[in-house]
Symmetry: D2
Subunit: 344 residues, 4 copies
Amino acid sequence: MIVILKKGATEPAINEFVEEVKQKGLGVHISTGVDKTIIGLLGDTSKLVPEDFLANDIVETAERVSAPYKMASRSFHPENTVVCIGTGQSGVIECKIGDGKTVPVIAGPCAVETEDQIMNAAFAVKKAGARILRGGAYKPRTSPYSFQGLGKEGIKLLEKAKKETGLPICTELMAISELKNFENVDLIQVGARNFQNFDLLKELGKFNKPVLLKRGLSGTINELLMSAEYIMANGNENVILCERGIRTYDGYTRNCLDVSAVPYLHKVSHLPVVIDPSHACGIRWMVGTLAQSAVAAGADGLEIEVHCCPEKAWSDASQQLPPSQFEELMIKLGKYAAVEGKTM
Amino acid sequence: MIVILKKGATEPAINEFVEEVKQKGLGVHISTGVDKTIIGLLGDTSKLVPEDFLANDIVETAERVSAPYKMASRSFHPENTVVCIGTGQSGVIECKIGDGKTVPVIAGPCAVETEDQIMNAAFAVKKAGARILRGGAYKPRTSPYSFQGLGKEGIKLLEKAKKETGLPICTELMAISELKNFENVDLIQVGARNFQNFDLLKELGKFNKPVLLKRGLSGTINELLMSAEYIMANGNENVILCERGIRTYDGYTRNCLDVSAVPYLHKVSHLPVVIDPSHACGIRWMVGTLAQSAVAAGADGLEIEVHCCPEKAWSDASQQLPPSQFEELMIKLGKYAAVEGKTM
Amino acid sequence: MIVILKKGATEPAINEFVEEVKQKGLGVHISTGVDKTIIGLLGDTSKLVPEDFLANDIVETAERVSAPYKMASRSFHPENTVVCIGTGQSGVIECKIGDGKTVPVIAGPCAVETEDQIMNAAFAVKKAGARILRGGAYKPRTSPYSFQGLGKEGIKLLEKAKKETGLPICTELMAISELKNFENVDLIQVGARNFQNFDLLKELGKFNKPVLLKRGLSGTINELLMSAEYIMANGNENVILCERGIRTYDGYTRNCLDVSAVPYLHKVSHLPVVIDPSHACGIRWMVGTLAQSAVAAGADGLEIEVHCCPEKAWSDASQQLPPSQFEELMIKLGKYAAVEGKTM
Amino acid sequence: MIVILKKGATEPAINEFVEEVKQKGLGVHISTGVDKTIIGLLGDTSKLVPEDFLANDIVETAERVSAPYKMASRSFHPENTVVCIGTGQSGVIECKIGDGKTVPVIAGPCAVETEDQIMNAAFAVKKAGARILRGGAYKPRTSPYSFQGLGKEGIKLLEKAKKETGLPICTELMAISELKNFENVDLIQVGARNFQNFDLLKELGKFNKPVLLKRGLSGTINELLMSAEYIMANGNENVILCERGIRTYDGYTRNCLDVSAVPYLHKVSHLPVVIDPSHACGIRWMVGTLAQSAVAAGADGLEIEVHCCPEKAWSDASQQLPPSQFEELMIKLGKYAAVEGKTM
């Protein structure tokens, strides 16, 4: 249920209204816009009648929300959410995702391998114009015999790269027990395989860091938004949605980039939407074309894998771009972004 | 098997070589490029040994093609195929698809309904910059109780619109028995449901008209190229491939636009690739964004449904654009095309 | 819309009612049961109000049917349809599919190859207990370079095998133009790739032969029933539905047998349901297990590929059973059928 | 790599061989059969040459395993694994899954709701012949606003039901931090959404309890076996695989039961395979038919949701069976099991 208040409703009147709602056992989400205030009622609202609220003088309209997600819904929060990454950390260059003016790129290697490797990659992607450094410390691998990432040590190396370059860092969390190592991580990634690991999502709701939530391999758009809702309902509204290719019947690419997710998510939600073309196709020469396509579809950002020596990468060797190609791509992407008056 | 001849091989020597191959019961496809001549061997080549051909003085190399398609393969025909629509017909404005300089748009209503309707649509799409007029005369409908199209009468109306506007016309063929009515159709569409109607494809191979071949609802890229091969192996090399959305597990759009098909098809085949964003999403407000995304992915053309009064359309009412929106879209698409130095 | 008449409605009263309906431009389907008569109204019934019919004395109830299919719906035709194959042909052993007492098996090679081959197969499958002989004369092959079937000559060989064994014959139709060769075919198969070839379906609606309609590679249950509706609405109610595996993301079997289709189709439709385990898996050793599973799911029949020398088969070599395995399987299937009091 | 030792190889010789292998940094899995001993080499074996092992007198053959899973593979462990549930606990009736003689049923409500509810359900399913009691204490729900389960309290209630009925208990684990509450749980379920939660799987590898591992919504067979491998490679070989329906393009059932998984998993792996028909279809009236089909496909067990008052269930109300229907079903299933000489 969402309740839209009349223009000019006073703060005491609003507070009184909110108290009443809470006494019914419901949660409340307040979105204060320039013109109007929108109150979202959270919890089991199935027995409420919208008309009952109209009796209150400050209420303009009250209506049911048919979507199962609420805090993630644009009905609840009409204006775009802008997620700020790296804010307030000394020496770190802040990055905003979802501001409608930029298309920031998160770039870096699939996995953190060695100090030299991550340092070189960090400087290379910064030079090319990337705004956030990525690198996997904990790697979700299908096989228990594959390289599982450097773990805590990998995060330490990312922190060092942040210090040297000023780039905020993004890395994946796979288990709640490791969260203690993410204090200096600026953007926490939840991977496709954990997108319905509800306990992990709840925990991230209580942790004060932006989250990059990837759509599951066969996750529906509704499920993605419900998973965002798990994080938001637990207190963290800084969620960025990420489309990274879905599983279909055709295997000519590793996954199938569902580019329609961008306009659709923008329609139904206020959260920023990032595209990961690297995992979507899994083929180096195709990454650039998909990135262009994503920018033209209105993506709020991109996540692209870059490795200084892709053919020697310890994982995903076939999809990482060398710095030279990444640089060229960034220039091309800038031209596509410019069509809508944006920069990378 | 493809055999690449040495530069400077004489015509008599080539003819002699071709005769030898034919005597083995194989077909031959000759692609004469600026520098070299490529001979494709068609049929069951499983018992041939590439090395045997090297004995012939004019042969440079001979190798197996692993892809099951041959004539549709870029190995056979390294240069892009440009398909000319409406060529040589008096009063018709020719349109080239696949020339790398333009992104022609095929536009018009889902179905031809009345003379007024198709005439108005034809003038509207021409004014906005479309290069080919589309309109369904034979409609493949899931239900036998739905409007099945005007049939032959619909084609007559399209012909009239062609005469008035000069736009070449494109319409769908569903049955071989109706082919006699397609003499004045400039581009024959094979719909998703008939993309493996092999008898229809064979017949189109013998008919001297360009074909717009749509990918099936769950057609793989390989199957699409094999279906193109059916047309080509029967004598017609003017095939345009069309991605129009595939069937996945998520139903938030009617189908799922597989934008990766554009770069992949360009890599493995020389045939032009067109995107149909209207059927891909089935939602009016999303068509434009997907069209932008398709242009940025390198599509050689677009097919977009336009109706002067979409809400009264006899079919697919929810996905057709009104002329005003189509005009705006064409302007925006022109900006995206310009990034690669192309025009619409 | 379906209208259920009161018990005891007289024939003249019924006829008068039917005339009234026809004058509204609607078609009528009458299902006369032991107790009650059900009138199905076909065509655009969107403007009718069910209540209006209640004014008529002979009408008990009138209600909208939400399913888009009508003649194929169990609401329209509550009793099971039993399709009789080979009826009234001299020397042919009739076979009933859908009688609830038997689970007839349609068996034979993927393709008719030679006279010896089809004769040997015919006698072998008859000996093992198959009730209908199958064999492809027109073969839908993904590649234009693969064996396309013997065509008309193949049908002649099937007719000969019918004469010798008394088994009715089943073979696939791919093009309307070949229908003239199907006069002596007892059960006409529509393959997965043609399941939405609506012109072909309409033609089969006018041809007086039972049809075995296969579900498309990614056909929904609703689409399958709508395709059956195309045949039925054109005059032929002898339709057998066939589940033959669907396309999913996992390729460990050729297709994925959707065994749930059997109980679901039985719930919503009165048409018999046959399972084709051979195409569903494409793996010889798995065919038997899937056949067992299909019988336990309540299938009304099975279609199984049998070849006297599978490893030399001209197509689908990996999925055809040799006669010895087929014989053993038939004995095992008999035991599963017996659980529900049925025989093979 | 698997190494098969000669019949009669002495224990000291085997130990010496194992030591040598370990010195190369590899793990070892020994499977001692009646006739021969098979040594599986775990870890990165890519640089080993099988021929090198033949120099050792006790080695009969050495060969590479192409499947990415090793301990889960039938090549490594040719005999069926039998998992014993509830063994050695006083008052508990042990249940074996995978013995080839029985098809044990795991039954009970979707979620533990109240003491009365779980007690009534426990006695009802025991009376009907179920061998293990299920009930969800931690519930993975798409929405954060849905009932999330009673948690630890739910497990206490299950323990009480175990004490009263003697049935071993099965319940789902969602987070490593809750594992401490699973000491008295006899079979730990990993749900579809956590089937690639690799940290959870590793932890279960170190916990001494049988695991029921469900296939993910779009998990491939290979991925399921790789997830089993995560558990096994960490020390726990008591893994039961569970097919519970996969996600496809057609939504007429909640998921699509992939019955072919049973014979295929039996072919490539030695682990027992259980089918969950309740989640596969999500429709009460269909559960029984799918259960029959699963037994006929050779499933080693079934998991079926039973609730004494399904229409009042707090979750999955539409798919749970009332005890009366479950009793009837068990009798029917017994007849299908009897075809292969098995009991329920």
